[in-house]
């Protein structure tokens, strides 16, 4: 059994085209080398001018035309079913942001890896918070760009138990190659167990959970090291030099400043850091969430 319902169509188009291609590559190379020796100067001192041959030219126009139409056809029939998801498909929201995938299940479960039941069509509603990403599961032969401001979807059915890599295939900045996740296909029972196992009931601070699920930690460290943006460690009360409207200002970071930056990150920038990369989280995080995050940051 194939890993997903699309493997067959994609691989068929791949093999048909590769098969025809390998045949022509070998045939043409062989003829080329054969002519090279048969008609080399030593063997054939006087060349023959043959300006053209209508029949031959018709043949080698018509045959490639037919072949490329066949190739096109296999490409299209393998692709067409990807366009419409079955109406009974289970819907999951897949969110891409620098540099993290988040999967939100209908009943509120949130996970940074995808777990799906076997043999059930799954429809991923794709959302991006910042820039272009592309959700790619090579084993399933499926890929779709995740575009900010657009509601695209992709669907598939996992047909074989196992865990498969998820890559981001559209370049999205510094840690693009680390934007990895996995898709695990499990039995119906295991899926239901997983779904109801609830969030991890550790003693984790809710602010830390929010920092993790919103990929804040991709850019802001908790240990003082410099990644893309300023570290959270010792942030509150820290003296920083910021550039606002082209002017250099010295400020003391307080709770109000942090809340403002979460909502409107690009109104000012800490000196020596790049502006523009962070998306606004004003619509994603509630005021309570922001309060929790600030509370957590104050413990660092």
């Amino acid at each position: 059994m194939n890993a997903s319902n699309f493997v067959e169509g994609v691989d068929l188009s791949l093999y048909v085209i590769l098969g025809i291609s390998v045949f022509f590559l070998i045939a043409i190379t062989f003829v080329m080398i054969y002519f090279l020796f048969k008609y080399r100067k030593k063997n054939n001192p006087v060349a023959t001018n043959i300006p053209h041959n209508t029949l031959l030219e018709i043949v080698w126009t018509v045959i490639p035309t037919i072949l490329v139409l066949i190739m096109f056809w296999y490409g299209w029939i393998g692709y067409k079913p990807m366009l419409t998801a079955p109406s009974d498909a289970m819907e999951i929201e897949a969110v891409g942001q620098m540099w993290k995938w988040t999967f939100k299940y209908p009943d509120g479960k949130v996970s940074d890896s995808l777990v799906i039941p076997i043999d059930k069509p799954v429809k991923l509603n794709l959302k991006s918070i910042d820039v272009l990403h592309s959700l790619y599961i090579p084993a399933f032969r499926i890929k779709r760009d995740v575009v900010p401001g657009q509601d695209f979807m992709m669907w598939f059915t996992g047909q074989k138990l196992g865990t498969y890599d998820i890559f981001c295939a559209e370049y999205c900045g510094q840690l693009h190659s680390y934007m990895l996740s996995s898709c695990t296909v499990v039995s119906e029972d295991d899926y239901n167990n997983w779904l109801t196992s609830g969030p991890n009931l550790s003693n984790e601070h809710p602010g830390l959970t929010l920092l993790k699920t919103n990929a804040c930690l991709s850019c802001h460290s908790r240990d003082g090291s410099r990644i893309i943006g300023p570290s959270f460690k010792g942030l509150i009360g820290r003296q920083e030099v910021i550039i606002r409207d082209g002017n250099r200002e010295e400020i003391i970071v307080d709770e109000e400043y942090i809340a403002g930056k979460i909502k409107n990150p690009n109104t000012s920038e800490v000196e020596t850091y790049q502006a523009g990369l962070m998306a606004s989280y004003g619509d994603i995080l509630s005021d309570d969430d922001i309060k929790n995050i600030i509370d957590y940051i104050s413990t660092l």
Binding site: M32, A47, G78, L132, A139, V147
Partner: protein, 537 residues
Amino acid sequence: MTGTSASQPSYLDVTKGLFSWIFTLDHKRIGLLYLYTVGSFFLVGVILGVIMRLELFNPGADIIEAQTYNQVFTLHGVIMVFLFIIPSIPAVFGNFFLPIMLGTDDVAFPRINLMSWWLYVIGAIFALGTLIFGDGPADTGWTFYAPYSVKTGTNVSMTVLAAFVLGFSSILTGLNFIVTIHRLRAPGMGFNDMPLFSWALYATSWIQLLATPIIGITLLMILAERVLGIGLFDPAIGGDPILYQHLFWIYSHPAVYIMALPAMGIVSEIIPTFSQRTIFGYKAIAYSSMGIALVGYFVWGHHMFTSGMSGPSAWIFSLLTFFVAIPTSIKVFNWLATLYKGSIDIEVPLLYALAFIFNFLIGGLTGLVVGALAADVHLHDTYFVVGHFHYVMLGGTGFAFIGGLHYWFPKMWGKMYNKAVAKLAFAIIFIGLNILYFPMLILGVMGMPRRYYDYLPEFHTLNQVSTVGSWIMVTGLIIMLVNLFIAHRKGKKAPDNPWNGITLEWQTKSPPPLYNFDKMPKLAKGGPYNYPNAKNS
């Protein structure tokens, strides 16, 4: 046509000094100016490529950081696309040989020709300026996809400005060639008496003239968005990122044919010369260039099958893409048929031309794979695509460029290189190229995405093979360059017509005189490749 005087000085000897070169109006000297600048940037691009391959030899961080890697592949792409491959064949060999092949003394607008080289230099300074000014070179990839290109703090503005200026250089070269071909052909030379290299340049020039303005406008839109905050492509301020991709590829797909068609033109020159017989299907080759140029305008959407496209647009773009394969395959069959009953001399340029066919077949056939919708969903944005276009660009256009250099070297400098060393270099480059790029095709089928600084362990072995290939290829390139450099310095004097060619450049001296011909060249009877010594069928 001027040149009634018995013996003019060669274009190399007529004047001396730096200024006589950088302000020259002679198309041959401008061709050489392009050769030295374009060639230098090719070497810079190669070095950046080798750095990437070294970093990818092992997974994880090795020699450079992730951010540096992203800047390196962007600069590699920008340099190789805009500073090397787009200008390469037209600006170097087109400038040098188009007027000679048409039997005239210069291009239509020599001053505009010089200006296009200067624009090239200014564009190059902007591109390299990002190393010094702003927060480092762009890290967007050469495609500058929005909205990342709008948000990143690196110096995208200066990089797109470079591409914008380089676009004008390209437009002016195209304009110049179109007018030259229409107005300055030797008396008695109709369109169908032109050498096929001129036909290829003619088709290319129309693309340069008509498609390049679109990328110019698009890059200015990026600037407007970055500098003025106008919401064109970034949805956060009301823009549409898919619109950017359409605009970008409306130029950048036809640009692929700016890169490929002149290469096919060189191959169409080399094969009849070393077969000593007429080209098979002259008109088919000439008109298929125009066909490719035309159809090439309508296939840009195949870069976007996975980025948000309706079913009908997807199949229409896919179908049109497959139609490009037909004129291309016709050319391949014609070249093959030209070897038939030829009297073949296996010289260095022919080896490059035949290797071009082999590499270009791999590049073209893998192009069919990603032109098919289903296969593209899997392979888009993977190493398969990287392998595919490097086979087309370096294995195809690059090989034609080097082949052309070996073909016309004796004409350009009047010296001959060491052929045995040149053949050795060819073999090493050819083997290296295939070891470098073939594993990428397999990596792509396995699912390794492109623009990856780090990768999973299953991709390790093939990445190592590929890196070893880069070492082999670079070794070959060095041998090739040293061989040509020595030939340039103290090569044996080359005869005027070392290959027994019959297009007009072989009727003048090596190196050519200032106004190209001492006496009026004679057109071959019955077509530009109608070898008088060959039997007629």
